[in-house]
Amino acid sequence: MPAATVEVAELTRRFGDFTAVDALTFSVHRGEVFGFLGPNGSGKTTTIRMLCGILPPSAGVAAVLGHDVVREVDAIKRQIGYMSQRFALYDELTPRENLRFYGGVYGVSGSDLPSRVTGLLDRFDLQAAADRLCGSLPGGVRQRVAFAAAAIHQPEILFLDEPTAAVDPASRRAFWDMIYDTAAGGTTVLVTTHFMDEAEYCHRLALMSRGRLIACDSPAGIKHALGAEMMEVVCDQPARALDFLVDQPWIRSATLVGTRLHVLLRQEGTAERLRATLSAAGTPPHSVAPAAPSLEDAFVALTADAAS
């Protein structure tokens, strides 16, 4: 069993009478890429801020690298790196200068610093841009510089808060390569995102809704654990058909994706029943075929379960 680098039990944070994070319990292993997936306001950033020791919990405990997030904040801060959505790079400095600056901030010793900067520039393919002003670089490149800056002091854990919002798909894939390479070197990576497709990149995910953990598993595991059958339906007037389907008790969720309906059945639901209902509604299906549920299907179904 790999060692846990983050262990959290009943972690809670209240702001006045609002519970932003509600009794979270989970652990993250060394070298894992662990994601927090949820909409805005679901408690992702609050959780990360507590794990970084920036925000004290209202209740519960959290240990990061074996250190308590309340009593041993200083020990934690030396061993973690943090990259926010608006990565704080200095536009009027070059990537090389930014890395040197952050190395100084994080207390990397003067003699180690130049070689460490060169090492990161090489590793993340940043040499060509190393001496241009950051302000003039494309978003994807800036993002990689920010990642390198957060990793300059070789932290045990990297926290990435919505890191790839707003970059193009090619840069995003390149960025995830960097994350995987870093994780393969033993660094644990914790990422927040509200994008379902981005969450597919994580080894394991915590699905969050209104401050609560509604599932914690690999993306495939979460979909599998749904235990429900997904059907893809092609029919005329799918928007009308959808209106008939959403209220059926044997249907867990239904949604329209372009011209196709995605219907998640409950145990008592069958393809035959689906065909019969659609025909009775005046929208007989051209086809009903099993399909793989998406992470969004899982999220919607699990959120609904948690609410009821």
Binding site: P39, D125, V167, P169, A184, D197, S218, P219
Partner: protein, 353 residues
């Protein structure tokens, strides 16, 4: 319109003129019948040194839910702002619901526009917000009441009429903003990243509203940076650097993907094993790319008949639980088209050696 007594001309010129006349007549007829909801020709837009749009063409039929897809800086927001009459193009022309975008006054009545950061009044209730926007768009009280009942019911906001907008959840705010943008029954609705950051249930609600209104003939043009949203559109334009690089239904775009994608799942996957499998795949014969998605590896093969050899080769080094061909996503197509585009910006992002 054209003069019947044309001056003597060569057969070729006459033919060209006749064809041009026919084309423009057909176009006018289409616009009059309301078949074309949005038309843009060679739109360019420059802000200082930034070329936001660089000769963008679009033709959107009435009743489509049309997605503008691309990364930040591709020109999505600028396109929507031009179509909404908020920014004049530097060159080129555009018509929305038959109206020239240089004529923003009449355009306002025919379109709805929802910016990324929309303005609801937080200290007004749901109903007061609806009334406010109805007044701005000079909707009669009777029309307003009729339309509002329908829209609020669709959005599931009827029970919250009296609640302050500030006290709504993010998803409910989004649905209220949509209601306000639709209160004057626009023909064309322009939405800039309508569901970014919204919870998935509200997001499905928003799409359900759009599909219903589509069935009534509304045309929707929306921008998105994310492919799962793109899959919901009836047609898409993939934008890159201010230009359209491809247009089609999601299925049509997927069919333009050359090669086969095989999904490899490793037994006992660890981050190190996954990474080495990826690196092996990238060097394999017939493989044009490999990408990790969590514990799965996607490898693009030039031809389907190369899969068996590839998988057998990979098995020499790692234990494979399964290897199955998967359908390419819109993102896969986008990446392939971009990689093939001649005008790709030289960036230090290149290659993985």
């Amino acid at each position: 319109m054209t003069s019947s007594r044309s001056s003597p001309a060569t057969a070729g010129e006459a033919e060209v003129r006749a064809r041009r006349g026919k084309d423009s007549r057909r176009l006018r007829a289409n616009v009059q019948l309301g078949q074309i909801a949005v038309e843009a020709r060679s739109l360019s837009c420059r802000f200082g040194s930034i070329q936001a749009l660089d000769g963008l063409d679009l033709e959107i039929q009435r009743g489509e839910i049309f997605g503008l897809v691309g990364p930040d800086g591709a020109g999505k927001t600028t396109t929507l702002r031009i179509l909404a009459g908020l920014v004049p193009p530097s060159s080129g022309e555009a018509h929305v619901a038959g109206i020239d975008v240089h004529d923003p006054e009449p355009l306002c009545d025919r379109i709805g526009y929802l910016a990324q950061r929309f303005a609801l009044y937080g200290d007004l209730t749901v109903w007061e917000n609806v009334c406010f926007f109805a007044e701005v768009f000079r909707v009669s009280t009777r029309d307003r009441d009729e339309r509002a009942v329908e829209l609020l019911a669709m959005a599931g906001l009827e029970p919250f009429r009296g609640r302050l907008a500030d006290q709504l959840s993010g998803g409910m705010k989004q649905k209220l903003a949509l209601t306000c943008a639709l209160i004057h029954r626009p023909e064309v609705l322009l939405l800039d990243e309508p569901t970014a950051g919204v919870d998935p249930i509200s997001r499905r609600d928003v799409w359900r509203i759009l599909y219903r209104l589509q069935a009534e003939g509304l045309t929707v043009v929306l921008s998105t940076a994310y492919l799962d949203e793109a899959e919901r559109c009836s047609r898409l334009a993939l934008l890159s650097l201010g230009r359209v690089v491809a247009v089609g239904t999601p299925d049509e775009l997927r069919s333009r993907h050359s090669g086969t994608i095989v999904e490899v799942v490793l037994a006992e996957a660890t981050p190190e094993r996954l990474r080495s499998a990826r690196d092996l795949a990238r060097r394999a014969q017939g493989a044009t790319g490999a990408q990790l998605f969590g514990d799965r590896l996607h490898v693009v093969m030039e031809r389907a008949d190369q899969i068996d050899t590839f998988v057998a080769g990979l098995r020499e080094f790692v234990t494979i639980a399964s290897a199955t061909p998967v359908t390419p996503t819109v993102e896969d197509v986008f990446l392939q088209l971009r990689a093939g585009a001649a005008e790709q910006i030289p960036s230090p992002l290149a290659g993985e050696g």
